[in-house]
């Protein structure tokens, strides 16, 4: 750390447009803070011979001291982390009791009514568990999420699940979501559901005014899509249909958006509204913020929020999808400041 006196000297120098101090002056100021040359691993060998390895005992003691400090740091840090986690767990439980949806869209609507803004496109990252009945659990979570999203009035929800297991059972999933929606809204006024995934046909009922779009994503829609695009472009370039200079950000953006966020059928035919490809909010139900293969292109300006440790010792898994987590994400989003790169 540079001492205050020296820092002031350097700052003055910057203010006066670097005229006061010459290069050697600056070097002299900085020199005391540089590590001892002999400590550097990459020291030229011919000079190392002149300097014998000095003070082996001292270096040994130093490294032992560091090791002890490391251990103690981690012990204390671990305790602190546990304390914070248990605090959050308590808060989570309280929130979960205070805010519960009771399968009533009106309650959910009331919970989000005071918010300044809502995401137009919500995205969630879910993960498949290891148990045998993981897929039904996952589908139930998706169905719950869809119901909350519909109740909150968010028109688009995209669900990312790494393995793509959800995509393989879209008819069942569609049925499950419809059932869940009817249990929330009642069969008469439930919103229509449009469920689709890249490279898959749309599952939808006849469209009405309040419809909900659900998009399923998996890891193959991420970097693999770019690989496919590059392959196609390379093929076109090899056949002379395209020159590499034609590849612009706009082209890539249009292609990637087309592939990952539009159904494979013609949009005009099916009467689907165009989906806003960039999610506004990305919810991660997990202990830390990792994207885990989420498609990279569209998360440029996406707010990210992770629910933190959702410890549920009884059931034994860490990232349960809970209503209070969903709600906290929306609150957080409403409080955040929106600035576009300037």
């Amino acid at each position: 750390m540079v001492s205050k006196h020296d820092r002031e000297l350097l700052r003055d120098n910057i203010r006066s447009r670097s005229s006061k101090l010459s290069a050697t002056d600056r070097e002299n100021i900085v020199k005391p803070y540089l590590p001892d040359p002999s400590e550097l691993p990459r020291w030229p060998p011919q000079r190392r011979k002149k300097l014998p390895r000095k003070k082996p005992i001292r270096t040994f003691l130093k490294s032992q001291l560091h090791l002890i400090t490391y251990t103690f740091l981690h012990i204390f840090f671990g305790i602190a982390v546990r304390l914070v986690q248990s605090y959050h767990a308590v808060v989570d439980r309280i929130l979960a009791i205070v805010y519960y949806h009771h399968r009533t869209p009106e309650l959910i609507r009331k919970d989000v009514k005071g918010l300044d803004r809502l995401p137009e496109h919500l995205s969630v990252i879910l993960s498949l568990r290891k148990e045998d009945d993981a897929l039904p659990i996952l589908m139930d979570e998706v169905a719950e999420l869809v119901s909350w999203t519909a109740s909150a009035g968010i028109p688009v929800l995209s669900v990312y699940e790494k393995t793509g297991a959800l995509k393989s059972c879209m008819p069942i999933l569609h049925q499950a979501i419809t059932n869940k929606l009817s249990s929330y809204f009642g069969s008469s006024q439930q919103p229509t559901l449009q469920l689709f995934a890249p490279h898959h046909p749309v599952y939808q009922q006849k469209s009405s005014q309040n419809s909900l779009v659900v998009l399923l994503l998996s890891a193959t829609d991420g970097q693999e899509t770019f690989v496919d695009l590059t392959k196609t472009l390379a093929e076109m370039a090899q056949n002379g249909k395209l020159s590499p200079e034609d590849i612009t950000m706009e082209l890539v953006d249009a292609e990637i958006s087309e592939i990952t966020t539009q159904p494979s059928q013609d949009r005009l035919e099916t009467g689907l509204p165009s989906v806003k490809p960039e999610p506004d909010l990305l919810l991660v139900f997990g202990p830390s913020l990792k994207l885990d293969g989420y498609p990279p292109w569209h998360i440029r300006l996406t707010e990210m929020y992770y629910t933190g440790v959702n410890s549920d010792g009884m059931t034994g898994y860490s990232d349960t999808v809970e209503y209070q987590g969903f709600l906290r994400g929306l609150w957080h989003f409403a409080g955040a400041q929106m600035r576009f790169g300037r």
Partner: protein, 404 residues
Amino acid sequence: MATSMHLSRLRNWFLASPPIEFAISRLRELLVGAIRQGPVPQHIAFIMDGNRRFARTHGIETVEGHNLGFEALARVLEVCYRSGVQVVTIYAFSIENFKRSKFEVDALMEMARVKLSQMAQHGEILDRYGAKVRVLGRLDLLRPDVLAAVDRAVDMTKDNGDRVLNICFPYTSRDEITGAIRETVSEYSQPLRSTRSTLPLQRTPFSEDHIAQTIRARTTNGKLDDSSTEVDSVSESSTLAEDDVQRSNQQNDVYQSETPLSSATTLHLAEKAAKNRASETTSETDRPVFRSPETITRQTLTDHLLTRDCPPLDLMIRTSGVERLSDFMLWQCHQNTEIVFLDVLWPEFDLWHFLPVLLGWQRRVSKAKKNPDAEGNFDGEFQESGEESKEELVVSSGLKAKSL
């Protein structure tokens, strides 16, 4: 108000007094040395956000805020490199930032130029201690004098040790990805040179006459010469299979541009090869030979990014509480990077904010090492997520009872 100002002045005086300063610097050294003992992220990215807000809240000029931000950067770099981080990538300037006021853009450019050219003055010291400096981004958007400073700094430090500082100067990730695609495409659209002269043997793996002969033999001979043809055909098919393997290997590398991609399945390779040969012998023109686009993988694209020779990104830190990536390292951080958003303005960022992040990272990594098959590690194609952390499932039962 007055008392708080006096207090803060007293505090500053206290912190700046030589013994305290000495103690703090010793403490920092100890902590950094301690961090070294555990696993250390190899590649950290910083989004240095909050310089302007810091300037606004502290009533100083924006440019001054950026200068303080630079000091914070120096502090953080010291911590990083001393604790053993190999590569630090910083987001210095986005292409979008050109939209800011001309005054600020000019000031930032001037600052970059001055810092870089000052750095270039300390050649000898840099050689001994410095990291390799690389500037990533759209250099063509820079002013010529800044570009010259950039070039000199990069050139001077290119032989330095294994520590790397990546400065993303006018950069956006989308631009980088597009560039990677463009480069890959242009690389693959270069015809492979002198394939005809070097690979004459590869172009004739089958003899057309021979194929025709065997087909004819099979159809005409029928059941008469059953035993003899069977032996014949077996030997034939075995050689065919061998050729097929060989051919398919080549097919991956050398690829005829007219072959429709969609139908290029391995099943029909032998036929197709024969067909290709037939068409070629008839036309006998010098068609350019390209590498097959099918050999493009994620790795190919990763290798064409600006960060191509850096280790995978372990940790991404953004200050100032804004929780989005703002077009930075989208490709790099999308797999197994831990993203951390800190609610501190960049000029205030120091070891004390950085330490918990590093400790948390170390904790998760060592946990993931202890039980590598924690959740999130699926079989199949995507196995990189070995470090998926299984975070504290166990909350003490007393607490649980209380909470329920």
